[in-house]
Symmetry: C2
Amino acid sequence: MLDVTINLPERTMTVKAAAGENLLQVLRTAGVKLDTPCNGSGTCGKCRVRLDGGRVERRHRGRREAVSRGELLACTSYVTAPLVVTVPRETLLAEGSVSLEQDSSVFEGRYYRVKKAFETLHGKESHVQAAVLKLAEPTLDDNLSDVDRLGRHLRVDLGRGESVIPLDLARKLPHVLRENNFQVAVVYSRLPDGRVALLDVKAPKAHPGYGIAVDVGTTSVAACLVDLATDKILAEGACANAQSRYGADVINRVIFATRGNGLQLLQDAVVRETINPLIEALCRHCGIGGDEIVLVSVAANTVMTHLLLGIWPDFLRREPYIPALTATDNLTVTAVELGLCVNKNAPVLLAPSVASYVGGDITAGVAAAFLRETEQNSMLIDLGTNGEIVLGNSEFAMTCACSAGPAFEGGEISCGMRAAPGAIEAVAIDGTYTAHLKVIGGQKPAGICGSGLIDLIAELKRTGLIDARGRFRRDVKTDKVVYDSYGVGRYIVAAKERYAIPADIYLTEIDIDNFIRAKAAVYSAACVLLSSLGLDFDDLAEIKVAGGIGNHINIANAVRIGLFPDINPDKFNFIGNSSLTGSYLSLVNKKATDFLKETAQQMTYLELSVYPGYMDEFVSASFIPHTDTDRFPSAAARA
Amino acid sequence: MLDVTINLPERTMTVKAAAGENLLQVLRTAGVKLDTPCNGSGTCGKCRVRLDGGRVERRHRGRREAVSRGELLACTSYVTAPLVVTVPRETLLAEGSVSLEQDSSVFEGRYYRVKKAFETLHGKESHVQAAVLKLAEPTLDDNLSDVDRLGRHLRVDLGRGESVIPLDLARKLPHVLRENNFQVAVVYSRLPDGRVALLDVKAPKAHPGYGIAVDVGTTSVAACLVDLATDKILAEGACANAQSRYGADVINRVIFATRGNGLQLLQDAVVRETINPLIEALCRHCGIGGDEIVLVSVAANTVMTHLLLGIWPDFLRREPYIPALTATDNLTVTAVELGLCVNKNAPVLLAPSVASYVGGDITAGVAAAFLRETEQNSMLIDLGTNGEIVLGNSEFAMTCACSAGPAFEGGEISCGMRAAPGAIEAVAIDGTYTAHLKVIGGQKPAGICGSGLIDLIAELKRTGLIDARGRFRRDVKTDKVVYDSYGVGRYIVAAKERYAIPADIYLTEIDIDNFIRAKAAVYSAACVLLSSLGLDFDDLAEIKVAGGIGNHINIANAVRIGLFPDINPDKFNFIGNSSLTGSYLSLVNKKATDFLKETAQQMTYLELSVYPGYMDEFVSASFIPHTDTDRFPSAAARA
């Protein structure tokens, strides 16, 4: 075994490695968490470390060479001698810090308005009820057991047959009854046959407790903590999905899941390292105990749903693309089975999926977007790592998915970040090529989120700094664009001196290329979905735009770069994270949960990969705005 | 901290102890498993160790004294200096070795006969069914998820609404379907509303799998592994309840449960150290995997049921003596919740209890004894650590319980043991006071089981070696009785030289006293139960005797010592471990499970501790055979 000394920003450690072992593997085994969006396939260039001593063999594209100094990628390096490597801070995965939504006016505009509208259209029924029961105190003559005594009251007071009492509550019952002189509150839901399923027994306060609505995205996870008595949101938060270190997109995650104990690692990453810390942060913020959360609602794409449940996802990506489950069935899942840090008995409501690549996040989004309540055609575009499009009206709904990558959420962008405090959410570039920034929370800039990227690329194009391919025009002279030793250009968005920040915030040609591929995937998918029904963008009454790209998307700029079609801008409506809104609807209203099931069963799925003409559309859309500029007259008018 | 060096028969270890720490606690913390029936209260004298170096303080009955050499009880000794102690083999808890029933003819006589009789009287319905399903293979057009695909078939082929599929099986499903070309066997039970609850999915073999029937006694645990296709018993086994090291009887266990993490230790002891090794031994013996066990049935007294489920038992022993549950309700328990090493989804059927001291072992026993199927009065006497008596006929059933202690199962008897191979099960004493033995399995004697103790004490009395108080008659001169330095007599049942065994097998006056208290408790309880209804032993058509005391009880000897009443010997019927038989009935027949619930709800419980006259009866019965010898004419005739 060979010694590998690892210098980290805050400490140094030495571990043992076998000769020939992959350096990325050595670092992972040592617990060093790296950002590896391509999951070690040698393509993303993120696992950069510095070799300070020793020698490795670099194996890449069939070539092998000895390397003894300098920067290298851990994933293509193999240990051949004792090593000293330094892992720079930027190579380390940013710890999944939780950001809380500061602007609670968003709750009114985004959630309560939608909730009220849904109730008006579909009615309202709560999942969870609470009641205070006064039990007779036991005597030598009335010596029913605690469980039977409670069961007798549940039968008499709440009716409809024997109730279901979980073992966990039977364990708690003797103490709770006696500490409260046999007057207690019960929290319960109703089974389909009307029987009572007990969720909690506690001190006599007729409050049902709290619920948590979660959106599990491939890149980001967001959640709302909800008071189930009032349906009010007490706090909203978001953080990075810790699974990201095992691959940036769903395909890489699925591949990772099928190797060794990969599935377990991914399940742990999303539950123990992502959702649980998020729930804990929300609970701490609101002074609520995790045990008081008695209902969980989750919306996620199909792969994320499989990984959350610990279900083998490999058949999702093999023809005929069959999910293990779509959650349209009677599979009941409780929090304890997933390891969630809430009340053990809390039911987990899973937003049902349509197909392998159209998940519960989309059925939740359809509900939040009210796509099925109007006779006119509308479109929902969800700008996620998986970009999904739904076209529909009250008569039908059709959907497709494209692999946009994580760019809309700031992933695979050098200085990208989620729409959290510190993110540049809007950009304008002036005549001196200087960027003027709007930063979330008004603080110093820390990175660029999706809405900022749209502005930035539109402005780079408008000011002539980049061409239609997204390359910096070498004939424009400015110190705002610099070129590295490989000749790759980068635009300085925020110079570190000007903003007194640790490092420049910039955008490279590779970043722009990633973003162009994301926007091209979405635009071409929308085109194909429409044309499959003989429709055009002009046939749409409305386009609802969803996604975690930030609260304020500049639609005009999104049209200019060719992400959205050039139609009447009044037809666009940005609805934020519609998956989370739908998850919230399902949490507070059983009618919404049922609506999601119907929606999933009624949606038609169009598989783009086998659809003729999709690749041509994609290639044509891989320009700013498009090869066919006639489609974007307003972009041409302004440029 | 002080060094404590512990010499064990096979090894030596040194651990750290705080000054003033209790020596029993030090040994327990070090993982030394001692037999401590009184749970460290200084009364049973079992935790005897030898002090070979150092000094302890002995604290007992308010006195404190320094001790620096010789034998002492660990529970009354406190560390005051570095120590060297030797723990002799006899102080160590005998490891819970599993004994398998060798004589499978017992299965026919004890189980199948009872099963057939029960079916004839009450009908038969299996808990678990199996069916082979041929699912359509998925295609791009028929792309239902695996769970929905299975659900569709369950609906069509087995009918009655949506089926319930546990997450665990959804995890297994993708592999099982594809490995078997979408032809699989499902194992399922029916919910009360007729829906299918899936228990297993596997290769297409229409066999429902296996079940395990368990009797969890305070001292011993016994189990049968059953083929659910044929109801045949594949193997039966028994072992000591590992909880015994925390106390010999239910009261000491309850006290232990309420201290620190005692409840968790007791739950672990019975599941991980007792039932699981027993199941593993039975599975190994039969070449069956634990995962193939899809149903579990447990009969146990009320305290054992609470401890098995991990439920706080303290209120059982406090007026008004309320159990947390009696399992007559709709509490559903699955194997995974208890940590049993069987199929995770296996339902655990709990024999329902009547009251705090009359448990599921008795309702199971009533079913196995057919007490409620006849118009004539019958009595069931269960000779366990908790001695229970049931009096009844087809019109009524009344029950009471007495604390007999573990003597009937060989507990708290110097050379006592369970009825397992090596146990002396029958004894005759000849004119030279030499004992002639019958040993289970025909091998060398290792100890004395319950039926052997009955014979032995009856023979000691008949031959005049002991008096009516159970004391050795000092006027009888024989080398078969020896006296220790305290003047306590012991009778040598099997001399080590004669049988070439490691040590003498003997019976002391203290052992006899323990046994007399046990038999007195049972006899007086039976008297009081009868007289509470104005009845007499002569009013009984039959007395069924149950218990793990051995397969062959000599009824005449049991009468001679005053354990049983002196009535027509033909009225006695020994039915073995009726709790296990009832547990087996419930496992293979849902009608029996329902019958147990009815029985528990209909039985009337008589609380002896508040019944006037019980103590007088007990004191009168604490002689061999009784103060009132007129009650036992046949004993007088022979003596």
